[in-house]
Amino acid sequence: MSFRYEFRLSGSGGQGLILAGKILAEAAAIFDGKNATQSQSYGPEARGGSSRSEVIVSDEEIDYPKAVNIDLLLCFTQEACDKYCTDIKDNGILLVDKNYVTKTPKGRFKVYSLPITEIAETKIGKALVANIVALGVITGLTGIISQQAVESAILSRVPKGTEELNLKAFNAGIELAQQAG
Amino acid sequence: MFNYDKYLRTDKLPHIWCTGCGCGIVLKSMLRAIERSKIPQDDIAVVSGIGCSSRTPGYLDFNTLHTTHGRAIAFATGLKLAKQKLKVIVVTGDGDATAIGGNHFIHAARRNLDMTVVIYNNYIYGMTGGQVSPTTPAGKRGSTAPYGNVEPAFDISRLAIAAGAPFVARSTCYHAVQLDKYICRGIKKKGFSVIEVLSPCPTYYARPNRLGNVVDMMEWYKNNSLQIEVARHTPEEEKKDKITIGILHDTERPEFCEVYQQLSAQAKKKYVE
């Protein structure tokens, strides 16, 4: 039986969600040998505005590349959470940043409200890497993509000189998932 | 005696220009300048836009490219960059170069790609029947300015200098001997060179403005031109209605092809590493 797993990473522009999506897709497609697509929808501005990055992982060729029946929704803003939570499929996962999303909706999905940005700030010392912390949480919670593949993809995509910092952020996310799981 | 036929497509003559038009004078001056420059015929490309002046390349036996209105410099940019051994001469008019092609003109001057632009400035759109152009003096008539031109005019040479052209000269069809020299200097200049030539349009500029025939216009060029060397020592009020001619600007700036080649060499080094 073929499988298709849909991620949507949502928030506002500048939070690194498009990069996070590309890392997930690269991990799945290149390092785990599956098929994956990453697509995005964003406003014309480079910072602010709403931003949405979607990753589809499948063991087959991916035709329609957009997420319609979401397995995992990540929300970095309340607005994104309110807007997209109805697209989560039954038994799917809603993952929100505790500090930004205070009202979590109820539905037939599992909710994880975790201090992602806070961990990035306190443990890593840079709120900027919240997107990579989130990748760690996603990897830990879903098990869809191997930890090793995501690490490799992070190393191939992040700017030179920031590898260690980003891996630390990723591992902090994995840990956070373990505590929550 | 220089034989023009060497550079002419004689089977394309007679030309389409009106009696008394300055285009032929500029064409011949350009050929004398090319001869003097000693650049091989096969290595010369003449590119033009649309208008009376832009018909020049059709009569010339070089690699010739008659493009769209205002775009000659942009076509020439691609041609030159793709084959840098070509000496590219752009032939254009006041409307072609400074109205519809104004943006290409100023950016080419800023970019400083090696080419020579000869602008025939007759103060009018001739090909379409005498409408005012960006260089028509305020108050002068054109078929679209029956009560006189309401707009002030561009000074093409000053525009070129301000935009960064390292070599700018101005002459008139009366001063054809000087013109040869300027075009030749322009061709030899490594960089973007501009030669503005005031050129008579007896049909569509002189007639509606009652400026007489072509001889009167030549007289006018003669009597109202000031050589730059003289102009430098002439009080402003005396220069008001005069046209300054000569080599107005000659300086050195890094040329685009050379800069690009350096950049390319660096990029390749990195690529290999």
Partner: protein, 378 residues
Amino acid sequence: MTNKPNAKLMTGNEACAEAALVAGMRFFAGYPITPSTEIAELLSRRLPQLDGTFIQMEDEIASMAAIIGASLAGVKSMTATSGPGFSLMQENIGYAAMAEVPCVIVNVQRGGPSTGLPTLPSQGDVMQARWGTHGDHPVIVVAPSTVRETYDWTIKAFNFAEKYRVPVILLLDEIVAHISEKIVYPKDEEFELVSRKITEKDPASYLPYENTDSDIPPFAEFGVGYRYHVTGLSHDETGFPTNNPEKVDKLNRRLNRKIERYRSEIIHYEESFLDEADICVVAYGSAARSAYRAASDARKLGYKVGIFHIFVLWPFPYEALSQIARRVKFFIAPEMNLGQIAHEISCAIKREVIKVNRVDGGLITPNEILEKIKNVQL
């Protein structure tokens, strides 16, 4: 281009730029515009490494002019833009068609009209791609739907341009351009590369626009001794302007025949599940991805649905669609416009087409197509 990794995650824009280099493109002129800009950015890095030229021009009019100039010097050239810039390019696309200058124009479609939706997809330019510049003129338009197809069709676009001496338009859309997908890198040798036919005649006997048996005049590049004339005016075989009705008629008919007579070589489409189908979904570009999904969902529900996926939009595959119309009754055309290709389909099949249209910046969903399939009264 050696040492390429075997598989790579890349976007359509990246695939387009890389494939253009494989095709031998060594001159790019462009102007920044969303969502095409990454093509220019990538080539600004790569071309100087390969002795090619990258130049950012002052606008799209100049960009189009510059690639024509470069192509006349014998260099394969390209520009990339989106709707508003594509509008500006039309003037000189006409020039390239008239003067028979090979070149490739990439238009990454975004929502229109006017400035429209800069960051969102559309397929609103398919008619403009065919008829955007004035006058009857030849042009070839190709529209891939995945990153890998973008790679392949970019190379084919250059081959068409070179072979037929026409401007070729590669129509992407924001989805195909920005989606990241795995592409297993084809080897460069896998591709047949075509270069324009060069004249064998000497300069004295060379006619730049000669009426040859093939209708495609052999080319001579500028600066190698041919000293001929190129103009956008109607011209005769010598390349010089003419108003002679006979000669002008001959030129215009040859220019258009040059593509029409090779239709079968140029046209490309893929049929799937059409043998037994009751319903044919005709799609192209990223909407084809939704169509495949909708059709497979529909087949699971027992509907007999096939796909006619168009890769070369112009010339349009009227004959093939007309053949299919003999055995398939219903045609559905999902498009991110208000039915531009649907009209051509109905010309071919001589009946109405069921349209699925979106002009809100969203990709048509498989469900929107599936609903139309369910509503067909078989």
